[in-house]
């Protein structure tokens, strides 16, 4: 009973509280909320070079619904989200299991694993672009060695280029997923494993019957974080492929960027971005509802 309400209420507290929150709210309101609302309003207008801005209600949304390029971008994005988050969760679990063990040099291992996460995405993108280069790329050299005529121009093939974007993302963010999962591992008490060991569970059984179920909250959190991020992928595409070849790597965020900033179709471009946001918001809301926002109800120890 008492813990739940272990805070001091008073009107003075209330005033102090709002005073403390005010600067942050101002920042967020000016540079996030207002722009988002403005974008939403813009999405109700038709505007492109050479035409006056005119109100068309949800016309842009109707157009988005019919636009085959948008459909393709959406499919590419969903494919990217699905593939990259799945791989990242798998690899992340592996990484988490490894760096959760106690061994000499664990600190160094953890640091090494963190490095891809810390590297700027733009650097990672240039790096993979170079690694996958059709002539000087290390990947070709490793696979084909001196057989120079077998070298593959990875980014020239639609499927391979898509795979390359996924690869770069997986390389860059698996360790982040791993860290989130590691946090889940750390709250599983050792006694649980000891008990399972006494009960005769093999390593695999211990993972499957104990670690995995207890890890679910952490996995779901990692899934949420990664999904939101993967949906917004931009840097990798901008640097590595510019959406090509043949729109094979044109993700929704890049399509929105091109439409909005290069084509100058302000209304339609914001429609794309607002739609992405709404889709993400619905996904997250559903997610938070089901998985729960424990932070808010968490009781101080």
């Amino acid at each position: 009973m008492r813990e739940n309400d272990a805070m001091t209420p008073s009107t003075r507290d209330h005033a102090t509280g709002w005073l403390m929150i005010f600067p942050a709210l101002t920042f967020v309101a000016v540079f996030s909320l207002y722009p988002a609302m403005d974008s939403f309003l813009l999405s109700l207008y038709s505007e492109f070079p050479g035409s006056e801005r005119s109100f068309i209600g949800f016309g842009n949304y109707a157009e988005l619904f019919r636009d085959p390029v948008a459909h393709q971008a959406l499919i590419v994005t969903l494919g990217f989200v699905l593939l990259s988050t799945t791989l990242e969760l798998l690899l992340g679990t592996g990484i988490a299991l490894v760096i959760h063990e106690r061994f000499k040099g664990r600190g160094w291992t953890r640091a090494a694993v963190l490095i891809p996460w810390a590297i700027p995405t733009v650097v990672a993108a240039q790096m993979w672009r170079f690694l996958l280069n059709d002539q000087y790329g290390a990947v070709n050299a490793i696979l084909f060695g001196d057989q120079v005529d077998a070298y593959v121009p990875w980014l020239a093939d639609p499927w391979m280029a898509f795979g390359a974007i996924v690869l770069a993302d997986v390389w860059k963010t698996s360790s982040f997923a791993g860290l989130l999962i590691l946090a889940g591992l750390q709250v599983i008490p050792d006694e649980t494993y000891d008990a399972a060991r006494i009960d005769g569970a093999t390593a695999w059984q211990r993972f499957w019957h104990i670690t995995f179920p207890l890890l679910k909250p952490a996995l779901l959190t990692a899934l949420l974080f990664r999904t939101i991020d993967a949906f917004r992928v931009f840097d990798l595409v901008f640097v590595m492929t510019q959406g090509g070849p043949g729109d094979a790597t044109q993700v929704i965020q890049f399509y929105g960027y091109k439409t909005l900033f290069t084509e100058g179709r302000v209304g339609y471009g914001t429609t794309i971005s607002v739609t992405v946001f709404v889709a993400l918001a619905i996904f997250s809301l559903f997610y938070v509802r089901t998985v729960g926002s424990k932070l808010l109800q968490r009781e101080p120890a």
């Binding site: 492109f48 070079p49 050479g50 035409s51 006056e52 085959p68 390029v69 059709d134 002539q135 120079v148 005529d149 121009p153 980014l155 020239a156 093939d157 639609p158 492929t241 510019q242 959406g243 090509g244 070849p245 043949g246 729109d247 094979a248 091109k258 900033f261 290069t262 084509e263 100058g264 179709r265 302000v266």
Partner: protein, 432 residues
Amino acid sequence: MVLLCNVPLAHGREFGTARGSSPTLVSPPVTLHFVTWKADHPQAWDEAIRRFEQAHPRIRVNREIAPHSSTAYHDLLTQKLKNRDVSLDLFFMDVIWPAEFAAAGWAFPLDEYFPQNEREKFLPATIASGVYRHHIYGVPSRIDSGMLYYRKDLLEKYGFSPPSTWNELVRQAEAVLEGERTTHPLLRGYSGQFKQYEGLVCGMLEFVGSHNGSFLTEDGRRSNLTAPESLLAVRFVREQIIQRLATPAALTYQEPESLAVFIQGKAVFHRNWPYAWGLANDPRHSKIVGKVGVTTLPRFSGGKSMSALGGWLYGISAYSQHPDEAWAFIEFMTSPALQKYFAIHASLAPSRLALYADPEVLHANPQYKDLLPVFRTARPRPRTPVYPIVSHILQRYFSRVLAFPKTDILEEAQEADRKINRFLALVRDARE
């Protein structure tokens, strides 16, 4: 039309008054804000502007440097213009932008400053690119156009003269590759720019155009991609150029990558802009110095050689408070003296015809003599206010048919046709 005329009038000026008044005499000191890009030869630009300020002591030029990427520069400018940024006076326009800038009311019409007799001194294609609906909005700073570079040594070795048709090019390249297989296993027949980006539109325009095809119909009102000559040209690129001569790696190439292949001696033919000449003959970068030839791009039998027009035009913002001073700047920078200076010190091909007979210019750039015919025939890309949209549709279309060899070219062309027509119609509706 109504909209266009309103722009300058809104600023309380009439066309007749500006011309002739000498800006240096009338007003207090003026600072012009010039949004430009990161130049390849910054020292030459610094010097040119120094000279201008010397000649016009009451005008300062304040440069804002944008990235040297046409797209990034475009996006920056249009954002500023959409916001009616009055601090912006001068900018460059890529040759494909004047229609967009004019229709949006962003570019100041230069008709009164830049009379017909003056325009005739420039290469006609460059002037044409600055015109939209009978008004001129830009003054060409230089010319760019696509041209065919080739390995003089290899063609001579196999007894070929530069190809005049694409089929000839393919035959020659295959013969050279066959002959060099053992000594140059990495040699490719052709190196060009086929990545999904603006350059792809230029490259494809040259193939389609040299088969009597075009992207838009004569009147510019409809897309023309499904015409049989266009489709054949596209199929030729897919089957002969990409799959036989260039290797699919070309689908990831912009100018630098494709040029690297050529100057490292790994391609027989290469399509690029005039600037490549200097680099291909620069021993610090090139392994083929002195082995390079340049000529007009080939054509299809029955067609005419065609090269895409590129280059930059000076423009004045419709929101500028100092159009007279801005014009003084443009006039100075595009004067014969300055174009000559840029041709000699920055390898920028002049837009003024007369300079192609100038011995100093020709001494510094001997290739200009051969290139003048190319410059004369250069063809602009479609001129429409929605060019960026049309370009994206074209990029998607070409990149798809080249990267997915199993696609039906006609179907893809029809889809692109439909989309382009829709936007052209939208613009017409908005205008009329």
